[in-house]
């Protein structure tokens, strides 16, 4: 009686050993390192690794180790000084092609890395860093799309020589026409331009209203979020942060997590910035339909600019900051469509002035009737105006005073401070946001607090664990020791699962582990108390063990499943700290059921099973 078949014992042993292996990477600690990732996201190969190592060695530094990880090159160092020097050297040499980040990396031996194992990833509250929750302004995303429709319809109707007036209010473009024939013709033109939009006849029979369908609005919103995710990833990558996380949350939110970043100020400007450029011709007569007056930025003069945009930020494929004739400048390259349009416009408008408009969107809180209200404010300022003066084939320069030639793909603009030029170049390079984003939650954890949290958390685990172990050994004697083995295995299982799932361990997560340690003994207590009861009732030791385990089983399952329900709800509905706690609680419940029901039973069977016993030490 009370013998497990050999295969079950082996299975328990194999599972335990697998868990030990998965948990192993956590004992090595971490080391200073530099991570290099390709700016375009292409995976690096062995040749690149050697190249980077040579660059580092040429600076007189011997790396402790170097290897490829997920297409990135990781180079480890003995000291922070080495790490910083190497990081600077790599950054200056590969500033355009690669993102170089200094970081801490687990000090794993080669064979552990080769097995693809990694330690638990630590949450921001344990390693320090910045967490930002951004909200995407969907209204603006829709409205800017409607503005494009308005401009497009206007141009098409003018080309078709149909007399019309367009007007955009509340996401509806109204087109006023004269005569039924024109209404028909205009409808055909609009439906050809975009077959999906909803075109309705106006009540007066002299107009059309155009709006986006529900599907189009939803598509547009999805597009805005996806585009923003890409743009934000690009921006974050350029900041040189190791393992950044940019993720969609819910319908209109984006989470950005940057481990190790300490100063969120620079970051904020870069993340939420909507700065972009537009190029428009100056309306010299000042009364063309659709022309508008734009204020000047700083000392720059205000200008009345034409409605048509020659080129805008989303047509810019590269931007670099630098100096031109001693002035900070941004060097811009347009895509081919933008380039063509720019070429044509400048050829047709020789000796006429053109302006660069700097556009930025901000959210302001205003008080209206005593209630706080969020309002989106769009700032559009002329940063320079220049006259198109001549035709040069390949000379492609604008400066503050004049546009000297017909320029096609690349040119430069001035009129900014050095920092503005640098940020604008980064933003234009990373791509524009499809819709403005606003920060609604920001948390920064300093590195000292992170380390403090780790130390305190693990201390609490150690002491709590020790207290429980001592109590169990005294109270249940040999059976208590067996329960302690199970409890210890339980810890290993939780760590192994967290490492395997790569779920971040947070401070509440540590609390979850501590709680699990306390609760994990419960299953054992249930079994042992039951065995004691059976013995008191006169059962033989072997029978007591057998029925103790058997009868306790339904209580253990019921109790754990109900707790699991609570943990799953926590995980599903909870956010941030609650989720971290829920993960470890769930894992703890599952692993503790296994260790208590199967694990301790295996040991009890091995020790006490199949022989005559006068009494058992429980």
């Amino acid at each position: 009686m009370n013998n497990y078949p050999w295969w079950l014992n082996t299975l328990v042993l194999v599972i335990l050993m697998a868990a030990c292996l998965l948990a192993l990477p956590n004992i090595y600690g971490s080391v200073e390192a530099v991570q290099i990732a390709d700016a375009d996201g292409t995976a690096y190969g062995a040749a690149k690794r050697e190249e980077f190592v040579r660059v580092v060695e040429s600076a007189g530094i011997t790396p402790e180790a170097s290897y490829l990880h997920d297409g990135r090159v990781v180079i480890r160092f003995e000291s922070t000084a080495d790490q910083e020097t190497a990081g600077e050297r790599l950054r200056s040499q590969y500033s355009r092609q690669a993102n170089v980040a200094t970081t801490l990396t687990p000090k794993l031996p080669k064979w552990v890395r080769d097995l693809g194992l990694s330690p638990m990833s630590l949450g921001l509250d344990l390693r320090g860093g910045v967490y930002v929750l951004l909200e995407v302004d969907m209204n603006t995303a829709i409205e800017s799309r409607m503005a494009l429709y308005e401009q497009d319809f206007d141009e098409r109707l003018r080309e078709a020589k149909i007399r019309h007036r367009v007007d955009l209010t509340d996401r509806v473009v109204t087109i006023r026409l004269t005569g039924a024939a024109d209404v028909q013709a205009a409808r055909a033109i609009i439906e050809r331009a975009d077959p999906d939009v909803l075109v309705l006849d106006g009540e007066d029979g002299q107009s059309l209203t155009v709006r986006m369908t529900e599907t189009q609005i939803k598509d547009r919103q999805d597009f805005a979020i996806e585009q923003n995710l890409t743009t934000l990833r690009n921006r974050v990558n350029q900041l040189g942060v190791a393992e950044p996380l940019v993720q969609r949350q819910g319908v209109d939110r984006i989470v950005v997590q940057l481990p190790g970043v300490q100063d969120p100020n620079q970051l904020n400007k870069i993340l939420t910035a909507t700065a972009t450029l537009e190029f428009r011709l100056v309306d010299q007569s000042g009364d063309e339909p659709g022309s508008r007056r734009y204020p000047g930025r700083g000392a720059e003069d205000a200008q009345v600019l034409k409605r048509q945009v020659i080129a805008s930020g989303d047509q810019i494929i590269d931007a670099k900051s630098g100096f031109s004739e001693g002035q900070p400048a941004v060097f811009i390259t347009l895509d081919s469509a933008g380039g063509e349009r720019m070429l044509q416009t400048t050829m047709e408008n020789l000796n006429k002035p053109m302006s660069s408009v700097f556009i930025e969107t901000r959210r302001e809180t205003v008080m209206r009737n005593g209630v706080e209200e969020q309002r989106t404010v769009k700032i559009e300022e002329v940063i320079n105006t220049a006259t198109i003066r001549g035709v040069f084939k390949n000379e492609e320069v604008i400066n503050t005073a004049t546009i000297r030639g017909v320029f096609k793909n690349s040119f430069q603009i001035t009129g900014l401070t050095p920092i503005e030029a640098r940020d604008l170049a980064l933003l234009l390079r990373a791509g524009a946001l499809a819709a403005p984003v606003y920060k609604i939650d920001e948390r920064t954890i300093g590195p000292s607090l992170g380390q403090d949290n780790i130390d305190r958390g693990f201390n609490a685990i150690k002491i709590g664990f020790l207290a429980v172990i001592i109590f169990m050994a005294i109270y249940y004697k040999a059976f208590g020791l067996i329960a302690n083995v199970a409890l210890f295995s339980n810890l290993i299982f939780i760590v192994a699962m967290l490492s395997f799932l790569q779920a971040s361990l947070t401070l509440p997560g540590i609390a979850g582990i501590v709680l699990t340690v306390g609760m994990a003994v419960d299953a054992n207590v249930l079994i042992f108390e039951r065995i004691r009861e059976e013995i008191t009732a006169g059962a033989s030791p072997q029978n007591a063990i057998h029925s103790g385990y058997e009868k306790a089983l339904s209580s253990i399952t019921d109790a754990n499943i109900t707790t699991l329900i609570a943990a799953i709800v926590l995980f599903g509905v909870g956010t941030g700290p609650i989720k971290g706690f829920a993960i470890t609680l769930m894992l703890g419940i599952i692993t503790s059921m296994f260790t208590a029901i199967v694990g301790t039973r295996a040991i009890v069977n091995l020790v006490f099973g199949g022989r005559k016993l006068a009494s058992i030490p429980v």
Binding site: F471, V521, V525, D558
Partner: protein
């Protein structure tokens, strides 16, 4: 070693004791609810929105000076308090509408090191009021969903009277734990919500284990009253209930004393919850089921095929 004698026979559920226990529970719940209604909770910025800074000074910080510096820097409603150590200070401000977060941050940092100290900005949190109210809603939602799902599970595994008993016990635990935070003015943040849910899980564990034994005894001790069967069950489970409570409290006390200031409210909520939960699974859950006139019949599954009865000898 044994803490509890092998065969205890304490009359937990006798008519008088049950009334006293129910009266105590009712009193605890009423006091908690009154305090929640009148005093409310010290909500953390997770729920209210606002700005929070945890700052480490090189030497013991002068709270009054920091407060007056911040006041004159244009932050009138600022809370400044010590956080664990003499050198650590927690600064809390309501949301600052109309001001750029980065500017507010710079002003705060400048003001805090007015005397030229180098300070360690350990933690800075900006939470908008909008996110705050959402987090509060989601926390409450989590509680309600968890209670509902547990009700259904216990109903399927046992019977609705037990479900009602379990949920009454859980609601009791949750209300008393939150009430404790209200009465003593302890900071109530997201981690406390997590703790309250963990308390529900824990207390439920206890309750279900007791119910499981009650079900077993309803059949084992045929013919005895429901009250007696329940009382026997609770006595039989007493050692287990107390020992599990004890080991859990052991680790929680370790967490409270060693885990640091930011996890303290969480630990306190769990400690209160485990104590209340242990009590409630002995009294509230069973007493509620008894009040609903639970009996062995409730647990017998109806026989689907009546012809089977004829075959019995």
């Amino acid at each position: 070693m044994k803490l509890i004698a092998d065969k205890t026979n304490i009359d937990f559920l006798g008519a008088r004791r049950r009334k006293v226990a129910l009266a105590i529970s009712a009193l605890l719940v009423v006091v908690s609810l009154v305090s929640l209604a009148t005093r409310g909770l010290e909500f953390g910025i997770d729920f209210t929105g606002g700005i929070l800074l945890e700052v480490g000074y090189p030497e013991a910080a002068n709270l009054d000076e920091i407060r007056s510096n911040l006041n004159s820097a244009g932050f009138p409603d600022v809370q400044v308090q010590r956080f664990g150590r003499d050198t650590d200070v927690l600064v809390r401000l309501p949301p600052q509408p109309g001001n750029e977060a980065s500017e507010v941050r710079e002003t705060l940092q400048r003001t805090l090191q007015a005397n030229g100290e180098t300070i360690d900005l350990r933690r800075v949190e900006f939470v908008s009021a909008q996110v705050g109210s959402e987090l509060a809603e989601r926390g409450a939602l989590a509680l309600v969903i968890a209670l509902l799902m547990i009700f259904v599970y216990v109903m399927v595994r046992f019977q609705w009277k037990f479900s009602a008993g379990a949920v009454a016990a859980l609601a009791h635990d949750a209300i008393v734990t939150v009430g404790f935070f209200s009465i003593f003015g302890l900071p109530f943040d997201l981690t406390v919500v997590a703790a309250v849910l963990a308390v529900i899980g824990y207390s439920l564990n206890d309750t279900v284990v007791a119910f499981d034994r009650i079900r077993e005894n309803f059949f084992a001790l045929r013919g005895v009253s429901a009250e007696l069967a329940m009382n026997v069950s609770i006595n039989e489970m007493l050692a287990r209930t107390l020992i599990t409570g004890l080991t859990t409290l052991l680790v929680l006390v370790a967490l409270l004393t060693l885990g640091g200031e930011s996890i303290a409210p969480f630990s306190i909520a769990l400690i209160v919850g485990v104590i209340v939960g242990t009590y409630s699974s002995i009294y509230t859950a069973s007493a509620t089921a008894l009040a609903l006139d639970v009996n062995a019949q409730d647990l017998i599954e109806p026989i689907k095929d009546p012809s089977l009865i004829d075959d019995l000898p």
